[in-house]
């Protein structure tokens, strides 16, 4: 057995058939300076990690697809930038696109920072600053990003004040760069966007750690991690015979207070608490009787269906017309966050009796209550009374209304031109009018629930309601199950899988995250998870994709969470939690570098990102990426060396990061062992790329898990999946599979001869058939002790 020294480098390729055991990396109980020596880049500023960014940007050159050819940000404009022209201020189209990307990341990062800071205020007010951050016996590295970026090892939630102060200052500096007459280089805009993305990842970790610590959400204490319970998902799981409260958004304290009120008043089985979007995920982490009604994509339709006796909003991903929607179905609304007040009157600290009376009588359509601890009582009491009032109401169209509307459609196509997915609604109406409602019912899942179609219909057909009516039997039957968000990956799990991940024998981590702007419905989310879990990848989900994939079942009637274990190990399907929880996916990659390879963490972002880029085969997928948060999340993954695939709507983010495998010089790495330069295969080929269909995305994700550090055994496993997924979904061999072959031992044994023959015939490689060896052809040979890096400072000895 080989012991790995604390803080020392370990050459993983020298470790054959050995058990890796790692002791405490961090000295506990000593002064702040003692836990680990400070690395080179604590609390990096805009320019600190610019060299690293430029290394990424030179290989993965920013690609721009403007969605608007003009700029109208100052009174010189509008400026026409078509054809990479310059505006009056001198900015070119490419830099302007970088500027808009930075703006999107600014908005996304600010949302997470604002959310985290808000949460910290509320939690310090409620519990004080000294709530300990202790995630149980299996999690020593409690805050990998906080340690990595800030050089801080947080002990209590109060320690996050300093972290947010740092982020807030950086956000302001980065926002400053957006002003007319500041930055002019697209490369620097992108470096700033990467900085913003990194800050965003830090915000997310901070926010989740604070809520885990304060609410006792699952950790490595009993019942946590792989053993978290399952909860109900789907519109069909809500019992509308009971009063129903629907929470929407991302900030859990008001919903948590509702859970507390229900528990304390013995109402848990008498009132339904359901949620939409991330608040629902986090509510189930504190109150397991809560249900997840839907992800973001169905918000409009859930509200229109009128199942809510009261709607409680907090922040982010709430429809801007939520109040109007609530009024339409007589659901009183309680806004609980100063970032989304919707024109209502602030009734914080008012007498709850009066508030409930005003809401129930309909005197006001809604109220604002900014103290989370005042929300539970008002929401529950209102729901109890509204249930009685609303019981006789029905907001699903009657059969006659449905018939009238589908017959009234004149097939003008206006709705199709307005629909983001170009759905053929008129034709489906026509078919329903002649008795076949299936096409219309099928549209329900393809629809992203935006409501644009209805606004242009000249016949004033309530298209969304018509679709809901057609799909109603399916909706009532929609009953899925998902694991509640488990939060951090355990250090002990990383110890188990660190070696197989870096060596490649677990072919990768697939991280489906984010919103529901899917090109072809929610089933794609399920297929992505199923395909990779069955191939023994580790699948870590957060946010809307974690919810949407739970709506579908296999032949045995099991959801994907029921069919797979929840360990961070081969074949696991893990719900990490809400959007902020996806910081733990960064955390897992960072812990691989730290726990498995012994790389120092503290203030050492560049080295860890370099490690992850070359060695940790992880790939994010935001198949329905929609928001600015998704832009900053993906950019944060990218700076840490993790690629991401987006669906076709993701092309509207304007920017992608793709490499050029045909430009040899772009693929020069350094062998840290002796400083020699090595030309390598394109792994990972892209950092951000859109695929048109899920059939294309599946092999693409497998491709983006190749890393130069793969051992031959690991490479052969990755190649097997890459080739197999291509054959399964694209009916062909991938045109570039040979690029990833370094030696015959990289080829799967079962098909080795066949593949060698293909290399000889199609690529004109020289094969020694007697020895079954490749003599000439590959970009490089396989060197088991290759120690890849992009950073000269990490060279250990000169050749």
């Amino acid at each position: 057995m080989e012991e790995i020294k604390k803080g020392g480098l370990v050459d993983v390729f020298d470790l054959k058939n050995v058990d890796v055991h790692i002791g405490e990396i961090v000295d506990e109980g000593e002064g702040e300076e003692e836990w680990e020596p400070m690395g080179p880049h604590p609390m990096p500023r805009i320019a600190t990690l610019r060299d690293w960014d430029f290394k990424l940007l030179n290989r993965y050159k920013p690609f721009y697809a403007p969605i608007c050819d003009m700029c109208c940000l100052c009174t010189y404009g509008k400026c026409d930038l078509t054809g990479n022209k310059k505006g009056a201020c001198g900015i070119r189209m490419d830099a302007q696109q970088g500027r808009i990307v930075l703006l999107a990341c600014l908005v996304g990062c600010s949302a997470h920072c604002g959310h985290g800071r808000h949460l910290l205020h509320d939690m310090i007010k409620k519990f004080g600053p000294d709530v300990p951050i202790d995630f149980g016996p299996e999690v020593d590295i409690e805050a990998p990003l906080t340690r990595l970026v800030c050089g801080i090892k947080p002990k209590t939630i109060g320690d996050y004040d300093e972290v947010f102060s740092y982020v807030e200052e950086q956000i302001v500096q980065l926002a400053d760069a957006l002003h007319t007459g500041q930055e002019g280089s697209y490369m620097d805009f992108e470096s700033k966007a990467l900085h913003m993305g990194m800050l965003d990842s830090l915000n997310k970790e901070a926010a989740d750690i604070i809520q885990i610590a304060c609410y006792g959400m699952p950790t490595s204490l009993p019942g946590g991690g792989p053993d978290v319970p399952l909860v109900d998902v789907g519109i069909g799981t809500i019992d509308t015979n009971k009063p129903v409260i629907i929470v929407i958004g991302h900030n859990v304290p008001p919903a948590a207070d509702i859970g507390v009120y229900l528990t304390e008043n013995d109402l848990e089985d008498k009132v339904e608490l359901g949620g939409i979007c991330c608040t629902s995920i986090d509510t189930t982490r504190v109150y397991t009787k809560a249900k997840i009604v839907s992800a973001l994509g169905r918000q409009l339709r859930v509200l229109r269906a009128g199942i809510a006796d009261v709607v409680v909003t907090d922040e982010q991903c709430i429809r801007a017309d939520v109040l109007e929607l609530c009024q339409r179905v007589q659901s009183p609304m309680i806004a609980t966050n100063d970032k989304a007040m919707h024109g209502l009157v602030d009734r914080t600290d008012d007498d709850p009796n009066k508030i409930v009376e005003d809401l129930v009588s309909g005197r006001v359509p809604g109220v604002i209550i900014l103290e989370p601890d005042q929300v539970g009582e008002v929401a529950v009491r209102t729901a109890l009374q509204m249930d009685k009032k609303r019981r006789s109401l029905n907001f699903i169209l009657s059969d006659d209304e449905f018939k009238y509307y589908v017959n009234d459609c004149i097939l003008c196509g206006g709705c199709t031109l307005a629909c983001p997915n170009g759905l053929h609604i008129g034709e489906a109406n026509k078919s329903a009018a002649t008795g076949n409602i299936k096409p219309l019912a099928d549209l329900f899942d393809l629809c992203v629930g935006c409501g644009r179609c209805e606004q242009v219909c000249k016949k004033h057909i309530p298209i969304v309601d018509v679709m809901t009516k057609a799909a109603y039997p399916q909706l009532k039957a929609e009953k899925g199950r998902m694991r509640i968000g488990r939060g951090p990956i355990w250090d002990s799990e990383i110890r188990e899988v660190g070696a197989p991940l870096v060596l490649g024998t677990i072919p990768g981590i697939i991280a489906p995250i984010g919103c529901g702007n899917y090109p072809n419905g929610t089933k794609d989310a399920w297929l992505i998870v199923k395909e990779f879990a069955e191939r023994n990848y580790i699948v870590t989900l957060t946010g809307c994709m974690a919810i949407d994939c739970a709506l579908w079942k296999d032949e045995e009637g099991k959801t994907i969470y029921e069919a797979h274990h929840g360990r961070f190990d081969a074949g696991g399907v893990l719900n990490i939690g809400s959007c902020v929880s996806n910081a733990h996916i960064h955390g897992a990659a960072i812990k691989v570098a730290s726990i498995f390879a012994g790389r120092p963490l503290r203030g050492n972002y560049e080295e860890i990102a370099d490690y992850i880029l070359s060695r940790v085969g992880a790939c994010g997928v935001a198949w329905g990426a929609m928001s600015q948060k998704a832009a900053s999340i993906a950019t944060g993954f990218n700076r840490l060396g993790v690629p991401a695939v987006v669906g076709p709507h993701g092309a509207k983010y304007r920017r992608a990061f793709m490499s050029r495998p045909d430009i040899k010089e772009d693929w020069k790495l350094i062998d840290a062992t002796d400083g020699s330069e090595v030309y390598v295969e394109p792994g990972p080929q892209d950092l951000l790329v859109a695929c048109e269909t899920v059939e294309e995305a599946l092999p693409m994700m497998a491709k983006l898990c190749f890393r130069p550090s793969d051992t031959d055994r690991g490479r052969s496993i990755k190649l097997t999946h890459y080739i197999d997924l291509n054959q399964k979904y694209l009916s062909t061999y991938p045109p570039d599979w040979h690029l990833f072959v370094r030696a015959a031992s990289d080829l799967p044994i079962a098909t080795r001869n066949e593949l060698l023959k293909k290399l000889e015939d199609e690529q004109e490689w020289k094969i020694d058939w007697k020895k079954k060896k490749i003599v000439e052809g590959p970009i490089r040979g396989y060197n088991p002790s290759f120690n890849p890096t992009n950073l000269e400072r990490l060279i250990r000895g000169k050749k």
């Binding site: 690609f63 031109l417 294309e696």
Partner: protein
């Protein structure tokens, strides 16, 4: 004036024109080195795959994006057909030094066909804005008005499918190589 297929897809002062199949066909005929880029929507009917193959048989190479390559494999027409991811392909097309599918250089003309509207629109926008020296000309022969292409058809609703098929037949006929 025709509206974009996705009505708000108004890009700026340079919006492409709408043209009948014969005009687009002769425009394609003027290309020095054209490339047909097809996407997954082509797979919705065999007819559309046949159209792509007919264009291919006129000596125009085909980049099959999305999972459209399946259509060509099924019809056993794979000569001159190469799988590419559309984002990556557009990244190549914007570079004048790219060697192309044949290793002999980039294309001066790209025909978009069978690609999800909004994704195609973004890629056409990239080429319009950044593939300018030398110019890469673009057309779309989908059933959508594409303002970011130099030329495209008008919006064609599903009930006009037969007319659209006729248009494609006419287009193929009018491509002279």
């Amino acid at each position: 004036m025709e509206v974009a297929f996705d009505v708000a897809n108004v890009s700026g002062p340079e919006m492409g024109g709408i043209a009948p199949p014969e005009v687009i066909g002769s425009y394609i005929s003027s290309a020095r080195k054209p490339l047909l880029v097809v996407g997954s929507e082509m797979l919705r009917d065999d007819f559309f795959v046949e159209i792509a193959i007919e264009i291919g048989k006129k000596g125009i190479p085909i980049a099959a994006t999305g999972h459209s390559i399946r259509g060509f494999v099924e019809k056993e027409y794979t000569e001159n057909v190469h799988y590419y991811n559309l984002h990556e392909l557009t990244n190549y097309l914007r570079d004048p030094n790219w060697k192309g599918l044949d290793g002999e250089g980039n294309y001066d003309f790209v025909i978009f066909y069978g690609i999800i509207y909004y994704y195609a629109s973004q890629m056409l926008s990239c080429l319009k804005n950044f593939a300018t020296e030398p110019l890469v000309r673009t057309v779309s022969i989908d059933r959508y008005y594409h303002p970011n292409a130099r030329m495209s058809f008008t919006n064609i609703m599903p009930r006009m499918e037969e007319e659209y098929k006729d248009m494609l037949d006419k287009l193929v006929e009018s491509i002279k190589r």
